[in-house]
Symmetry: C2
DNA sequence: CTGAAAGCGCTAACAT
DNA sequence: ATGTTAGCGCTTTCAG
């Protein structure tokens, strides 16, 4: 059975197609209650659903949005962002095309062309990490950027407020009484997040009247392994220099700090406090003890981007970056600093070699 | 400037719209090389791109696919699956609509209606965990299921071969010489994976001539915490009963086994071998030592589903479930069993209480 | 080898 | 309060 058309409904209801169109689109004007009813029933009877394609051709508005992203595959954050965008689109009666380019410029071009051909009403250009991008030619002029900012302005964008997030993280430590606080940073200069969180770190230190010790700003590979290595170095510092609290660039690196601490018999948070960033469920919540961290507002950013792209949310400035707050998630990895710094084993830590005999249970 | 139409190109090239259409669509027939050239140039000159909407209305084929999923947000697997589907769609010149329902039936209905109105050429119904679903009314008859199977047949579907995967995992342990192998299962009976992996476990044991010990099939909450608790119980078994290898339902639980083992001073893989499942990058690869696990072929499944949905891959049977192989990823958590079972500390393990003083570095 | 014209299903200006 | 009708931009017969 072929799809019912508007004329079928009109015939069954004994009215014109105009009338059907009017009632299907809930146009306020005219049309008596009784007619409306009749049309509704006829539509149901023949199983009518308006064709978005025909409507799109006629109105030149398709009620679709294109979401172009560099990587959905490799990051656990993608989902929350998509979900936020998704939900906002649904609320506004729009459908979203998802286009993943893998960062490939040629594919990006193709994607933009396809979306243009499809006459999407809006576009969102999303990155999976907060960074600066050169927005490709051909995107709709009102495109909004998600989790990235345009290198030369010209677009509205939404990104996490990494500076404030970094400051908030460090304030957790300060509030618990810590004075020697390290920033275990990534060694990858790409993401803006690294620099911004560092600024936040310095800001929170300054407002607490603590002089930042450059020796406490260390870098490592962005992984548990890298975090562990950097933490070892920090824990090898002389007692009076050693940090009592460590703010980590992300949760993965914080997991490395846990490993380093536990291998030395240091208890978290009794002997060492740690704060992460990202609130990666699989990591932060599953640590022992659960990790206090700063959450990236991916869902909210996705929603925001979609709402302004669709004009649901009026955002005055055509060329402004919206900073989204990163809430701190308090769990159990922060406590007061030890009265006297716990004495770690002075032996050079070895990351690979393993002592010949098993240690007794703690 | 308004969008260029086919008639604009025709005017510039001095030909009819028919001719333009023919060359734009690479229709083999007629049209001299010279005319083609002229049309191409005209198209470029006016910046012409065919309207997919108009074409869709005319041809009744939109070159779009709807991908309905229960949850993209909460699982780190979603990305790979979407990427696979995505790539296959692009290869076939299709665009994909992503619709996340959050498992809500009303939203699911809406989604299906919207896709129907949009006249998508195909639909994929995806789950984020291998399970049995009751496919909702209204989906296209040739819809393909991704990572789930239909409760009453009637649809093609693709799921991971969890049985073979479970067997492969256990064979890793058997091949290393283990005889007392535990299966640390989830306590959630929902996913088919639990049952299937258990069957695989039993199968691998049987083929190695090992009698399965029911005491070695334990369950726990599906998390690192649950894995740790279950592992404690296993490690508390008397020496001659204790497993030397543990196959875990997933990587998260395996991470819990690591914690339990390390807290007792047990070295992996020297004192205990462990195999996970899922190959979650953030977990498996970052363990110390890196975890040997079984990968879920999400990308391949996504691709497969899209290819059969689009008819690119001819899959004879209209009503068959395709089993996708789960490759084992060898890392460093499996070794030969200890010559003599390492003696763990006999004291009852406590999961929350913490001894008053830090233990010395191992 | 090329063109004219019908029509996909809908909305909206204009009649009545 | 309701109906007629002209397109939206394209593909595709059917005629030359």
């Amino acid at each position: 059975m072929a799809r019912a058309r508007i004329s079928d409904v009109a015939a069954v209801a004994g009215v014109s197609v105009t009338t059907v169109s009017l009632v299907m689109n809930d146009v306020e004007s005219r049309i008596s209650q009784e007619t409306r009813q009749r049309v509704r029933e006829a539509a149901r009877a023949v199983g009518y659903a308006p064709s978005s394609v025909a409507r799109g051709l006629r109105t030149q508005r398709t009620r679709t949005v294109g979401l172009i992203s560099d990587q959905i595959a490799t990051t656990p954050f993608a989902g929350r962002m998509l979900a936020g965008a998704q939900d906002a689109a649904r609320d506004a009666g729009h459908l979203v095309y998802l286009l993943d380019t893998g960062g490939d410029a040629a594919i990006e071009r193709e994607a933009i062309d396809a979306l243009t051909a499809q006459q999407v009403d809006a576009m969102i250009y999303a990155c999976m990490w907060h960074r600066v991008v050169d927005v490709p030619q051909g995107v709709l002029p009102k495109t909004v950027l998600l989790d990235c900012r345009p290198v030369n302005g010209g677009y509205r964008s939404v990104v996490p407020d990494d500076r404030a997030g970094g400051a908030a993280a460090v304030r957790e430590l300060v509030a618990a009484g810590h004075r020697r606080i390290a920033y275990l940073d990534t060694d990858d200069p790409g993401p803006l997040a690294s620099r911004l969180r560092h600024e936040g770190y310095l800001e929170a230190l300054a407002e607490a009247g603590i002089t930042a010790d450059p020796a406490l700003h260390v870098r490592g590979e962005t992984s548990a392994h890298g975090g562990r290595a950097a933490a070892e170095a920090l824990l090898d510092l002389p007692d009076d220099k050693r940090p009592t609290g460590i703010f980590c660039f992300n949760d993965r690196m914080a997991a490395g700090v846990y490993i380093a601490a536990h291998r030395r018999g240091l208890d978290i948070p009794r002997d060492l406090s740690v704060v992460g960033y990202d609130d990666q469920q699989l990591i932060a919540a599953e640590q022992d003890p659960p990790l206090t961290t700063v959450a990236l507002p991916h869902y909210a950013m996705g929603r925001w981007a979609m709402e302004v792209a669709l004009g649901v949310r009026a955002e005055g400035d055509e060329d402004a970056t919206h900073l989204m707050e990163c809430p701190v998630i308090r769990r159990d990895s922060v406590g007061p600093p030890p009265a006297q710094v716990a004495k770690p084993n002075r032996r050079r830590a070895s990351h690979t070699e393993r002592p010949p005999e098993a240690a007794p249970d703690r």
